[in-house]
């Protein structure tokens, strides 16, 4: 069971700000999904390798050849707050 407190902590980890109502709702809904996930615990997965990759491939590389980058006006074209060729952000507290 995930508690409202945990939901708040997870929201902070995910950088989401939840209203009291959202906390309530998510606590309930996450518990529904997690309850279903509890069923997985009943499956015996001893000696079962996890599937982390959808297809069995290995050693895919590119060669170390630099190519021209993007023009800077394109780089900054979508920036909410560009300044002097940089992306500006408000005060960093930590």
């Amino acid at each position: 069971m995930i508690t409202k407190d945990e939901v708040q902590k997870v929201a902070h980890l995910a950088r989401l700000e939840l209203s009291e109502a959202e906390v309530e709702l998510f606590t309930e809904q996450l518990n529904q999904v997690l309850e279903a996930a509890e069923k997985l615990q009943q499956l015996d997965t001893t000696d079962v390798e996890p599937t982390a990759y959808a297809v069995p491939m290995q050693n895919v590389f590119r060669e170390d050849i630099p190519e021209p980058s993007m023009p800077r006006d394109e780089v900054l074209a979508n920036a909410p707050d560009p300044k002097d060729g940089y992306f500006r952000v408000p005060k960093i507290m930590d």
């Binding site: 997870v10 950088r15 700000e17 996450l30 279903a36 997985l40 997965t45 996890p50 990759y53 408000p90």
Partner: protein, 495 residues
């Protein structure tokens, strides 16, 4: 019959016979969008000029008598999570409402090379999360068969556009059924290729180990045609497989004699709509009568697939969607005094409820203390699901089922109940977990006139085989013959 009503292969032949020009085809579809999309609402962005200029180029080349690619002059639409340079790519999210991509996705590059005119970008569930397109931050898309019903999702715009003849074909993306489920709801063909068959470069990621791009088309021949054009190895996608692409249209034939078809008993259980079940079983019978060998099989971990999916997909999504932080692009909440507040406000205001729900779920499943119990466990169960299919494909050539447990449901019916919404993916998501190809093809209609989708799953890189069976289903059922009743030209909504 208007030009927009034809299939891609029909139009291709007409173009080559010079019965029509590419400009006429594109104009016809653009007019169709113009007259109908205020009702269907499939498009987020219409790119009429882009489409027209490509059509012009096709006609010029045609006039010169040079060879044309198969899809030349066949206008199409793209799900709005496929990057298109200089054109908005919104993922139907407030977060990217004004985002203009500086680069093209590989599939769009391939379609440009194929000279297929881009009509526009199609509505979807926000960041591809959902099964009804009701999670679009912009508007709902209507099901052309019943405007009060959902078109399915998340590629709802892509499926509705094809069903309403607002595009000759479209591309969607499928993470747990997002191509096949809306294709089934809208009575069109939707194919999810083997993971790695089509490059994901430029597809805005939802769950990286499950996402695949695929075609949504009017018939099976078109699906084969489009898949042939978009498949293939891409050095920009490390997970794209370096395997030759056959001409998939070569697999299409009606004869199914000797083909072994598996019927998984776990897919015909309670909860499946009786009408849907009947239509699917009738289709199976027709295949059997046509000479296929039908055999009951077991995929024992089917029951666990849904829970497994709803751990793995949100976990990957929580990481993939972390980049939307208001720093480099997209929505930013303006008033925050510091970065932490800016992040939280930006993401809380920019994302809708379903996206937040999945980010929360995924963050939790990966967090310290829960990783082993949820994420790692889910990955192990995923292995069991993969093994189920591997075993099954030792016995049969394809596995068939209904694509969805029910036909299209009404707007608003499930939006407040995530769990029941999630259940509409229960037959489609195992193919994503197993990374295998699967196709949905219409096989009939309910009493109420809603289409029923028939799903065919094949072994990895068995696209040719599932297209073959789908082609037979299309011919045997004749389901393609029936089209939604929509006004042919201009005027009011529908009959």
């Amino acid at each position: 019959m208007s030009l927009y009503q034809y299939t891609a292969h029909e139009l291709r032949d007409m173009l080559r016979r010079k019965e029509v020009s590419a400009a006429e085809i594109t104009d016809s579809v653009l007019e169709r969008i113009d007259s109908l999309d205020s009702v269907i609402k499939a498009y987020v962005t219409v790119t009429a000029e882009v489409a027209k200029s490509m059509a012009k180029a096709v006609d010029a080349q045609l006039a010169q008598g040079s060879d044309l690619p198969e899809l030349a002059g066949i206008p199409m639409g793209l799900k709005d999570n496929l990057n298109t340079k200089g054109i908005r790519t919104t993922c139907s999210s407030k977060m990217l409402e004004n985002y203009i991509s500086p680069y093209d996705s590989t599939v769009y590059e391939k379609l440009i090379k194929s000279m297929s005119p881009l009509l526009g970008k199609l509505n979807m569930d926000e960041f591809a999360m959902g099964s009804s397109t009701e999670n679009s931050a912009f508007f709902n898309t209507a099901n052309p068969w019943d405007l009060e019903r959902v078109p399915g999702g998340s590629s709802g715009g892509s499926a509705a556009a094809v069903a309403a003849d607002e595009a000759i074909f479209t591309l969607g993306s499928d993470t747990g059924g997002s191509i096949r489920q809306p294709a089934a709801f809208c009575g069109v063909v939707g194919l999810k290729p083997t993971y790695g068959r089509v490059s994901r470069y430029g597809l805005v990621a939802f769950a990286s180990s499950l996402d695949q791009i695929g075609p949504i088309t009017k018939d099976v021949t078109d699906a084969a045609l489009v898949l042939t054009a978009i498949a293939g190895h891409d050095p920009m996608d490390s997970t794209s497989v370096n395997k030759e692409v056959p001409d998939y249209t070569k697999f299409l034939k009606e004869d199914v004699k000797g083909l072994k078809i598996g019927l998984p008993k776990e897919y015909f259980v309670e909860g499946i709509d009786p009408e849907v079940k009947t239509k699917v079983m009738e289709t199976v019978q027709k295949l059997e009568e046509a000479g296929a060998e039908v055999k009951e099989i077991s995929l024992p971990h089917t029951d666990a697939a849904l829970a497994t999916y709803y751990i793995i997909a949100p976990a990957e999504a929580s990481s993939n969607l972390a980049r939307y932080d208001g720093v480099r692009y997209g929505y930013r909440s303006e008033t925050a005094p510091d970065v932490l507040t800016m992040y939280k406000k930006t993401r809380s205001e920019g994302f809708g409820p379903e996206v937040k729900r999945r980010i929360m779920l995924g963050t939790y499943a990966l967090s310290s203390g829960y990783y082993d119990a949820y994420y790692l466990k889910a990955q192990k169960v995923r292995t069991l699901i993969v093994q189920d299919f591997q075993k099954a494909f030792e016995e049969v050539d394809v596995i068939v089922s209904s694509t969805t447990p029910t036909p299209a449901f009404k707007m608003g019916d499930k939006i407040d109940d995530p769990m029941s919404m999630y259940l509409s993916d229960m037959f489609t998501l195992p193919a994503n977990m197993a990374a295998i190809p699967a196709i949905s093809v219409p096989c009939g209609y309910t009493e109420a006139g809603l289409p029923v989708g028939f799903q065919i799953m094949g072994p990895a890189f068995g696209e040719g085989t599932i297209l073959h069976v789908a082609y037979a289903v299309e011919k045997l059922t004749g389901a393609r013959e029936r089209r939604p009743k929509l006004p042919e030209k201009g005027g009011a909504a529908c009959e």
